[in-house]
């Protein structure tokens, strides 16, 4: 599993969950188009008594991937909520589990925008075990951009081109 695509995020001063810059134009596991990579170390709290990561946590990781994708594109989701008074609500989420992630594994979340049309955004994700490149899960989420009254609205123009899809 090459980590070249993420070299940029290892520079000093890059805090938090280490997110890769836009990694490339192709990927070993399905999908196409530019992607972003985020590394997440599995927390003890995320395991369950089967000894593996509890399945709902992947949706949380996908969200981390989504936010880091936006950051890689130059956008802050926090500012989008605060300054542009709009949010990205989830209208559908889906995950297919291929192999279990385990405690202390480093999991790469590879995030892409599959489609963007009007107020609809469609992301896809792969969760990959860093150690050996094993695909753990893949998923999609569909979102609607909403204003502060929870009404669908267009993505502010400054985001539209940059986000891709």
């Amino acid at each position: 599993m090459s980590t070249e695509g993420t070299a940029a995020n290892q520079s000093p001063g890059r805090p938090g969950e280490t997110a890769g810059s836009i990694g490339g134009e192709s990927a070993p596991h399905g999908g196409k188009g530019a992607y972003s990579e985020t590394r997440i170390r599995v927390r003890y709290a995320e395991t369950d008594q089967m000894g593996v990561v509890y399945h709902a946590n992947y949706l949380i990781w996908f969200e981390v991937g989504r936010v880091e994708y936006l950051r890689d594109k130059g956008f802050s989701y926090r500012d989008m909520e605060k300054e542009d008074r709009c949010g990205i609500a989830v209208v559908e989420a889906r995950c297919r589990y291929k192999a279990p992630a385990r405690y202390d594994d480093v999991v790469i979340i590879r995030t892409r925008v599959a489609r963007q049309r009007g107020s609809i955004l469609h992301f896809t994700y792969e969760a990959i075990r860093e150690e050996d490149g094993l695909l753990l899960a893949e998923g999609e989420t569909i979102h609607v951009v909403i204003d502060d009254k929870f009404e669908p609205c267009y993505l502010p123009e400054k985001y539209r081109e940059g986000i891709g899809g």
Copy 2:
């Protein structure tokens, strides 16, 4: 929103999240076949800064629904893991969000077995706001029955007929 189907679970001594007995043969929102109902009061911890329930929590609620469905059928998932050395691993999960659940709402999780074949189990769910019967979300999960080495196996015979699907 009729709660007749759940009268049984209001009897004294019924602890924990109140789960309905098998509720009936039809339902206002899609699906068919016998269902089970579980009531969940939204916890503060389950909300996010949008002021609604964070979307990953629905997968947790679906699991609560699944376990209560089994209990309604006379089975304990805890015993299945402990005594029969087999588990029900999630291989796919999907949720479509229709309307946000909010803090302190009582949400009914209506659970059905859609299919059971070999080692595969397929559940469907509706999350319904108790106050007014509004459909908040609907979802599906697909499972494979596994032994204690994480290998697919058949559901022990005693469960097969009872579970339905």
Copy 3:
């Protein structure tokens, strides 16, 4: 473990996590003063790979206990936030773990108000395994009442007497 104190909450129509009415004036495990009881069924998501409930979940359960305590006193924390524009922020939390809770256990959260003075509220909790009355954990939380600007304020008068402490 007597459950007499909670008979009231088993009446039909009482939704969500079953919370007892104010249960009595004394308790087997420490503490004194009127208490409220809430029953929580351990979710699979709350376990970790040690096969027991992950310790942070007790703080979530304590909060469920707190809200049900208020409900038993005739108050809705949801309305307090919405209508009275004030919240109860946590300034300190503490938990001592005595014995592990396990998946599918029913855990009774017994909640008391230990003190109420000005904008400070002090709650205590016991987590008790329903099956045999075993004390699983005990804890305290200290809170400050805040207005919608996160500034300390007095608890609105209507709540002050009712809450106790």
Copy 4:
């Protein structure tokens, strides 16, 4: 807020939540002795409808800090559980909240071992907002080393000296 102590963990190939090497012998906020630093980016899932991080999450972050402290000392908690068949169970946890962490904040968890005696381990933590060095919370956890039958045991010798305290 100096980040010099964490320069080491920014080297390429350091995956997961970025954890500092043992940072120094003193710290601005209380405590003494060598500490370890871990950076955590606040996830949306960790916020609640008050618009701040839900308080129970700090216990999860403290655990991340604990594991990274051990890693900095050359130990893997995963291997301790797997190879040495012993775990570090929480017997007490405490947190004092000073200021709210918010979505997308980078929070530094500064972890120390305060004491180690027999099978007892005592950790202390500070949660610090990276942006401006503001102390968000401080806490302690007390642990007992247990074997795979949940009986107290001594920490395997190889860990004893290295861990400190």
